[in-house]
């Protein structure tokens, strides 16, 4: 790559990795402002945690008896709340001017992957999302402690079934394996002991409020990763996050989602040391300011949500204004990625998993659906020959390959079709 291409690569990555892609005009403006100015903009601390007002979700209270007239209304309310929640977040991802905060929130949702399929209610999921926003660039130790008291996560991992009399290890295992330390950095004994330290909490399912029940609490001492004592969940989580393994593990998870799932995090990468105080902002700053994003080998496939949100941002489309929320939901479901519904506690897969022949088809019909709603006046005003270059800047693409240029040539007289091809091209599906 020549220096101009390299600059496009690094700026494209700043848009697509630390955010959800450029809005119209942003890519060209960033090219003239330069890499450093673009980085600094990304790293400006956010002024608020949310830029689209979250829906007001009321506590629906206990579910009426099956087959009662009230249950019909109740279920409808519940579905409506879930829809509001789903659309709100998509709108927020598209609208947010602070793309790093939004991308981090999305990352943490895949990290503490909790699904509404089991939680069932929208309110606890909204509360969890708010917690994730709050800590998205904050201190990971405080974050992990706060997540213990998250009702949705407690329900998801059977925390309410974990009692002194009969420990349930689901939460304790995932706390170590998936959330703080990584597999193989603890023993089976640690899992059992940690489960005891986590006993005594119950959840109000409709709100996600977590409360303490002393009768269910195992008050004896536990030994977790070499530390023995009577410890509160917060104390023991603090101990987990203080491990060196935790520092590396979180850096690796960030690397896996923001840089590469194929190449591993280099041992000496400065982002590891930058996380010494468990400050997520410092970690991200170090990553963004390192030379990583200018290295060509670190390409990534955009996940379906990332791809869709990127398209909406480029085309100034508000997801909740698309003709049918049901259709929107089902396109994302066909592509196997619906916000608030990760497939399991490990979160979503990465890279090639999104590149099946089936997803190629779904992406194509989804793109057709979305682009039909876009205002293409500006693209139409550009001459046929110049349209591919215009689209490269609009979408934040480094450059079109001869293959894609060839495919575009056959449809460049038709702005809608041209955009569909651009959106489904390897150059846009993959963040180079």
């Amino acid at each position: 790559m020549d220096s101009q291409q390299l600059q496009r690569l690094e700026i494209a990555r700043l848009f697509h990795r630390t955010g959800f892609g450029p809005k119209p005009g942003e890519f060209a403006a960033a090219l003239s402002a330069g890499v450093v100015a673009t980085r600094n903009k990304v790293l400006t601390p956010p002024s608020k945690v949310s830029f689209v007002t979250p829906p007001v979700l009321t506590d629906l209270g206990p579910r009426p008896a099956a087959n009662s007239p009230a249950v019909v209304d109740y279920s409808q309310q519940l579905r409506y709340q879930i829809q509001l929640l789903f659309l709100w977040w998509l709108d927020e991802m598209v609208a947010s001017p602070h793309t790093l905060q939004e991308k981090m929130t999305w990352f943490w949702h895949g990290h503490w992957a909790t699904s509404i399929a089991k939680v069932n209610y929208a309110l606890p999921m909204l509360n969890q999302n708010v917690t994730m926003r709050k800590y998205s660039l904050g201190n990971f130790k405080e974050f992990a402690k706060a997540m213990f008291s998250d009702g949705a996560l407690q329900v998801w991992l059977d925390g309410q079934d974990n009692t002194a009399k009969a420990p349930n290890e689901n939460f304790s295992r995932e706390m170590m394996e998936l959330f703080t330390l990584g597999v193989d950095h603890y023993t089976e004994k640690d899992v059992k002991e940690l489960a005891r330290a986590f006993t005594g909490y119950q959840v109000a399912r409709t709100t996600g409020a977590v409360f303490y029940n002393a009768r269910r609490r195992d008050t004896s001492a536990v030994t977790v990763l070499g530390k023995t004592g009577v410890m509160s969940p917060e104390e023991v989580i603090s101990h987990l996050v203080s491990q060196n393994d935790s520092q590396l593990f979180i850096a690796e998870r960030i690397w896996y989602r923001f840089v590469s799932s194929r190449e591993s995090l280099p041992d000496e990468h400065p982002m590891i040391r930058a996380f010494a105080d468990r400050d997520v902002y410092a970690l991200m700053k170090s990553l963004i300011e390192s030379s990583t994003f200018s290295q060509e080998q670190y390409s990534m496939v955009k996940s379906p949500v990332e791809w869709f949100i990127g398209l909406c941002r480029a085309l100034s489309i508000t997801p909740s204004q698309l003709p049918s929320p049901t259709k929107l939901y089902s396109y994302l479901e066909m592509l196997s990625q619906v916000p608030f519904s990760p497939p399991n506690v490990g979160g979503w897969p990465a890279d090639e998993a999104w590149l099946s022949s089936a997803s190629a088809q779904f992406r194509l019909s989804f793109a057709t659906h979305v682009i039909a709603q876009a205002n293409l006046v500006e693209l139409t005003a550009v001459s046929d020959v110049r349209r591919p270059a215009y689209l490269a800047d609009l979408l934040g693409v480094v450059e079109w390959s001869p293959r894609t240029a060839n495919a575009m040539r056959g449809v460049r007289d038709n702005p809608q079709k041209l955009l569909i091809i651009a959106a489904c091209s390897p150059e846009y599906v993959v963040s180079q």
Binding site: L78, R79, Y80, I82, F86, S115, A117, K118, W156, L157, D158, D161, K165, A166, P167, N168, E169, E177, L178, V183, E188, R262, Q297, S299, T326, Y329, M334, L335, P343, N344, G346, W348, P349, D351, E352, A353, L355, S356, S357, A358, S359, A360, Q361, L364, S401, P402, R403, T404, N406, A407, G410, V411, N414, K417, I421, C424, P426, E427, V429, V430
Partner: protein, 422 residues
């Protein structure tokens, strides 16, 4: 009236850990982009050389979440079993006895009749050394076939690497490809339940052009182009077949006396597989799955429903295959990433455990038990001991079903399970 999104169902009151293909998160990285034949060559292949009758076909059924083997193949005469898990055992008289000491879960009537016809091999106590109780790690081990070294390829993906390049050779039902079918040179194809539709007209032509790889592509971009090309390849062959009705299972009663309710996802998947096999799809290996086995709470009823689904779906599928003349060619392999603890937890469920039974079902199978039943009195750290290495099973399946050197694909593994005829 506002249109509402479909609410994801709360399935049987338990975790959806599992539902779809598990992840690359587990560390199973991906294959390089496959060099491919042209569209025409592959479309031709499906039409002009359908899989010859008599070619063995493997159908892998993955049970995601960790199926509780002790409540599947049940040591119903052993008091230790009842003592360990009082809240989640079944009454002995409801079970389906297989021998003087083991019985099938009451919901598995279909598999029981196949057992009676000598078509079911149950390999007992299957696992691998140093059991890993993480869903992700353990499923990665099962799907890569490699407990010690971390591999980027699946055990069937490595078999695919020994085959001619052809996206039809191995197909997984569902939108996301499981690591099981990821090879270094080529991977299996993913087929969603609704089938695929080929882009038509000007867009179709442009998509064909997009599906070419370009010298400037990095590996992921090449893989994206390949996925587009496979859409054309697979859909040309598959689409007409999916439009046809499924083969009739005429030796099964049309009304099921058991649990009501529509098709399960597994039966839908197997229905598509049945259609494609009947049409002569040149496919040697299929992958289907069912999730929901992570029964940390209120297990007895939930697992019974799930096993009923597995049993009924497989039985119907094999029965459908009779009309096609290919039922003799088919072997079904059923496995899960681990069994569960012997002791119940406090929620009438079980936590993650170790060894479990693997089922091999079909005409080519020599019915009966293989491997030792793990003893309930000789537990390892509260868990069942592994008595059979899972690579023994894979090695025999590779050899006897796919005609491949099993040991070689499994890093020179020597063991086998002699569960096949001939």
């Amino acid at each position: 009236m506002i249109e509402l999104p479909r609410v994801p169902g709360q399935e049987l009151g338990m975790s959806r850990v599992t539902r779809r293909q598990f992840l690359k998160y587990s560390g199973v990285a991906a294959a390089a982009a496959a060099p491919l034949l042209t569209v025409d060559q592959i479309a031709q292949a499906a039409i002009t050389r359908p899989l010859p009758l008599g070619t063995p076909i493997l159908v892998v059924v993955t049970l995601y979440g960790g199926n509780d083997g002790l409540n599947t193949v049940i040591p119903y005469q052993d008091s230790a079993y009842y003592n360990a898990r009082p809240g989640l055992t079944y009454k002995p008289e409801t079970l389906l006895p297989l021998s003087s000491d083991l019985a099938l879960n009451a919901s598995m009537t279909g598999i029981k009749s196949l057992w009676d016809a000598n078509k079911v091999a149950i390999v007992r106590g299957v696992g691998y050394p140093k059991p890993d109780r993480s869903h992700f790690s353990s499923m990665a081990i099962w799907q890569t076939g490699s407990p010690a070294a971390h591999l980027n390829t699946g055990w069937l993906g490595r078999w695919l690497d020994t085959q001619a390049i052809d996206p039809m050779t191995a197909i997984s039902l569902g939108g996301v490809l499981p690591p099981l079918l990821v090879g270094a040179k080529q991977s299996g194809s993913a087929l969603p339940l609704g089938g695929l539709s080929i882009p038509q007209g000007v867009i179709g032509t442009a998509c064909q052009r997009l599906s070419a790889t370009s010298p400037s592509d990095n590996p992921l971009m090449a893989a994206a182009a390949t996925s587009m090309r496979n859409l054309f390849n697979v859909s040309d062959n598959v689409q007409p077949v999916l439009a046809k009705p499924a083969p009739v299972a005429d030796d099964l009663p049309t009304i099921d006396g058991g649990n009501a309710g529509g098709d399960t996802n597994l039966s839908q998947q197997l229905n598509v597989v049945a259609k494609l096999i009947a049409a002569g799809s040149p496919t040697r290996a299929w992958s289907v799955s069912l999730g929901g086995f992570d029964t940390h709470a209120n297990e007895a009823n939930a697992q019974s429903l799930l096993l009923g689904t597995v049993s009924k779906s497989i039985t119907t599928f094999l029965s459908q295959m009779k009309a096609s003349g290919r039922s003799k060619d088919i072997t079904v392999l059923v496995y899960s990433e681990f069994g569960r603890r012997v002791m119940a937890n406090g929620s009438d469920g079980t936590d993650h455990g170790t060894a479990g039974p693997v089922f091999l079902i079909g005409d080519r199978v020599n019915g009966g038990f293989y491997g030792d039943q793990p003893s309930l009195s000789k537990l390892v750290d509260g868990d069942l001991a592994v008595t059979t290495d899972f690579r023994d099973v894979y090695s025999s399946v590779l050899e006897k079903v796919l005609g491949a050197p099993g040991g070689k694909i499994l890093n020179n593994w020597k063991g086998s399970v002699n569960a096949f005829k001939s």
